[in-house]
Amino acid sequence: MANVLQTSFLPSTSSLRRRSISGSKGKSQSLQVKAKIREIFMPALSSTMTEGKIVSWMKSEGDKLSKGESVVVVESDKADMDVESFHEGFLAAIMVEEGGVAPVGSAIALLAETEDEIAEAKAKSQSSSNSTPQVVEEKPKQIEEAAPDVPAAAAAPSVPVAKAVTLGSAVHPASEGGKRIVASPYAKKLAKELKVDLGTVVGSGPLGRIVAKDVEAAAVAVPVAASPAKPDPVAPGIELGTVVPFTTMQGAVSRNMVESLSVPTFRVGYTITTNALDALYKKIKSKGVTMTALLAKATALALVQHPVVNSCCRDGNSFTYNSSINIAVAVAIDGGLITPVLQDADKVDIYTLSRKWKELVDKARAKQLQPHEYNTGTFTLSNLGMFGVDRFDAILPPGTGAIMAVGASQPSVVASMDGRIGMKNQMQVNVTADHRVIYGADLAAFLQTLAKIVEDPKDLTF
């Protein structure tokens, strides 16, 4: 058994004790006066210890503690020790989960004197956990952590979630109508870590078993699908001077954006003349064709000739050549961003594609997109042309190889080869790509092909 440390939560080294107490005095004292909620601190288990890792909590939230009872096992730079409670009470809130690291003297849990104070302590831990950046978590924090902070989360239309449940692992022959979930050990571990409900995950492993990658996909998808519909946001709805936690969708976006930092990207731009495309658009607009569908189609046709631009790098060691060309198109929705996917955009005709797009956008607005409708993209389009933006640069979504930022098509004065000056509609596109799989020459060739298709768009309607 680990050394039982009689000194309990309070740091035992005198210098540290002084520091930590004075550091937290204000907070905890005011609390103690009101509610007798004590903070449990990361103890200093050795003279050289600056931070400690929580090995395991021996008690869980709500458990009663008696004085001298072991509560938590802490790993220091030397050894593991059981840490005992100095006070009687209830373990109200655990602020640093197992596996988490906290500096000596920082609060790792709250101890409530009576059962009634547990809720209060919990509320406190939530507010303080948002403002205690020094609590370093070993693993990326889960997105849902913020969920309780989002008001109306529960009351919000939970339609997408319910849908996802029915989608669940019911396909598994042995799952007895979804009662039993068959998931691999790592998938289970990941689900716990990422707080994904396995019941909502579709298994892609042998016999429909849920495997790790299914959980990973669901972790990205679920928060988006389940994000609550907020009342129509009015710009003045933002209260200045406040800190508003991310919604789950915003959290997911944030995570994805940060994740993309680990990808070595580069950018290649191109100016494409769109007179012919504009003319075509005018001609078939009445048939319900949208510009987005035309751009997606053109891009897909160009990708057919350059499969490497449609590939991605999953593990850092290999090319993953996608079998289908699925164009994801970024759409801004209230308080977030989603990328509905036009599947097999190279094969589907422009009219069907346009109808499909309309359907996807409607679903996205209603927050009813199914996971496969927003997370299966192999190439992403982002168009800010409608706002008059003439050029911008996009961040590569993780799991894909390239994203193309499309600017507005604007009349420009162009000097032609024969020495004349004329007017042409031109738009700038800028592709951000993962240089591990897609090289400069690949993008250049792809853009050249795309320009040819756009400038001579007869193939778009075939």
Partner: protein, 566 residues
């Protein structure tokens, strides 16, 4: 070149469940994968094995009718006959020749037994691969060392060949060493037909009867498979099959979390499998010191792609067939109620090992096995049904179940040879080390802390525990492998070492300083001043001994206090 360590597992018995608790402090609950000497290799042909056994039974009757079984022969063909050429038999044979005995060894299968062919040896080859894979795959670890490695991959057949080649090599070394010394290797399955008389022969050939002054049974063990489990050798397998590494399943259930299960979980997870442990007891790794198993679980189980069910029996396992996966029925160990069903790609049965003693002809000398084990006294002398010693008959190794480890069998064999050559000897099993070759390794000698506390209470002495961490060891930190713990359980009054447990880098090699001290009766106050080279991992033990608080003064005759060089 003997196989040193073994992997093994909570001792098990065919009749009772695989989770029995042993009370005796000596009975360490693990067993070496070792040789089985009569050599029916259960893994390859268990059914034909049964045929052979019945053949043996019949011929036994024939010889019984000849009627001269009851009287020992006057002159003998050999001084010593050993039935079973595993590591135990081999160790005994070598020592016997050294002592000038005319020795024969009977082997019905391949020389080397379980350890060399289906146990410690090939598993070490697989673990060598898994250790390297683990290192190469650990980006974090590599980065911390400043190394850059591109994708680590493996070729399954290449790995399997390495294990097989190693086994062949060690097998031929073993065979050659015996031949070179003049040990007669008799081929066939040995059966005791009467006092000092053994019959051997292959199926379909005439049996030969040989006599010897003394006989050692060293027939070893086979994987134990609880009832309800159907082993098909493809998707439901024992260690025998797993060591051939015919496939690497995506998801494998390992029944039993002792040495064998743990080592295989290390191999499989390094090669990309996910593992589910099924353990009948409430805790994983039940055979180890609780503190060690707690730490080991944190390092070897929790961060890996492993989950587990404890307190459950795998009551029924059906191999994959007709497009269905392997189905494992779990039953609560206490309530006996159905608890869960698992569907996996493969299941490895690592519930321990059962003695291989059936068909030995023990009934001819009135010996009744206990759960298959041959009953012996502390000198490995076989005890008959009436509780009397059977003269000139000994049993060593897994077959007696005292300590199912290859090197324990060898030590027992040497002990027997000492006795038959006129020197009384009792092996101190508490000085026999054991190791589990996970990454990092686990090793131990002597008692666990609970066993020591029980003994202390019974005998009325005090015990103390000292611990040191690998985190403070320079060499371990240089290797970036600071995870680990060494633990010493000792008597503060006289400095006696009761147990040492190590979890950490190269723990299996480090234990011998402690096991030698136990074997030689060296006290802590004497060993603590021995010098260790710096920086080495052995300083973990140095620090451990130094941190112990012993009241007794160092003995004056301590060898290290004498000048070493002139």
């Amino acid at each position: 070149m003997h196989s040193t360590l073994s992997f093994s597992q909570a001792t098990t018995v065919p009749t009772t469940n695989y989770a029995f608790h042993s009370q005796s402090p000596i009975n360490l609950r693990f067993c070496g994968l070792r040789r089985e000497a009569f050599g029916i290799s259960i893994l390859t042909r268990s059914s034909s094995g049964r045929v052979r056994l019945s053949t043996r039974g019949r011929s036994k009757r024939t010889s019984a009718s000849t009627g001269n079984n009851g009287t020992p022969p006057k002159s003998f063909d050999y001084d010593l006959i050993i039935i079973g050429a595993g590591v135990g038999g081999h160790g005994a044979a070598l020592h016997a020749v050294e002592k000038g005995l005319k020795t024969a060894i009977i082997e019905g299968d391949v020389v080397g037994g379980t350890c060399v062919n289906r146990g410690c040896v090939p598993s070490k080859a697989l673990l060598a691969v898994s250790g390297r894979m683990r290192e190469l795959q650990s980006e974090h670890h590599m980065k911390a060392l400043g190394l850059q490695v591109s994708a680590a991959g493996y070729d399954r057949q290449g790995v399997a060949d390495h294990a097989n080649n190693l086994a062949s090599k060690i097998r031929s070394n073993l065979t050659n060493s015996m031949k070179a010394l003049g040990v007669d290797i008799l081929t066939g399955f040995g059966t005791i037909v009467g006092p000092q008389k053994v019959k051997y022969g292959k199926v379909g050939f005439t049996d030969n009867v040989v006599t010897a002054k003394d006989i050692i049974i060293a027939t070893g063990s086979v994987p134990f498979v609880p009832k309800g489990i159907e082993v098909d050798g493809k998707t439901v397998i024992t260690s025998d099959h797993a060591l051939k590494l015919e496939f690497v399943p995506d998801w494998i259930a390992i029944v039993g979390s002792g040495y064998i299960g743990l080592e295989f979980s290390d191999v499989y997870t390094a090669l990309g499998s996910e593992v589910t442990f099924i353990e009948a007891l409430d805790q994983l790794m039940p055979g180890f010191d609780p503190e060690i198993s707690k730490l080991a679980q944190r390092v070897l189980i929790n961060p890996r792609k492993i989950d587990y069910h404890t307190g459950v029996f795998a009551t029924k396992i059906t191999p994959a067939r007709d497009g269905k996966p392997v189905i494992v029925e779990l039953t609560d160990a206490k309530t006996k109620e159905h608890k869960d069903t698992l569907e996996v790609d493969a299941a490895l049965i690592a519930t321990g090992r059962a003695p291989f003693t059936y068909g030995l002809g023990l009934e001819n000398i009135n010996v009744v096995t206990q759960r298959g084990f041959v009953p012996v006294d502390e000198r490995m002398r076989v005890i008959d049904a009436n509780g009397n010693l059977v003269p000139h008959l000994y049993c060593i190794g897994d077959a007696n179940g005292k300590m199912m480890l290859a090197h324990a069998a060898s030590a027992q064999g040497i002990s027997v040879v000492k006795q038959v050559t006129g020197r009384d000897h009792v092996l101190n099993h508490l000085s026999v080390p054991a190791a589990c070759f996970t990454h990092p390794e686990i090793s131990m000698v002597g008692l666990t802390e609970p066993q020591a506390r029980e003994k202390a209470e019974k005998e009325g002495f005090e015990i103390s525990v000292a611990k040191t961490s690998f985190k403070a060891n320079t060499k371990a930190l240089a290797e970036n492998e600071g995870e680990g713990l060494a633990k010493l359980i000792y008597r503060p009054d006289n400095g006696e070492i009761l147990g040492v447990h190590i979890f950490g880098l190269h723990a299996a090699d480090l234990i011998h300083e402690a096991s030698n001290a136990v074997a030689l009766g060296t006290r802590i106050q004497d060993i603590r001043f021995a010098v260790h080279a710096h920086p080495t991992l052995s300083e973990v033990l140095d620090e451990l001994f130094k941190s112990a608080k012993v009241k007794a003064p160092a003995s004056t005759s301590s060898p290290i206090s004498e000048p070493v060089a002139a």
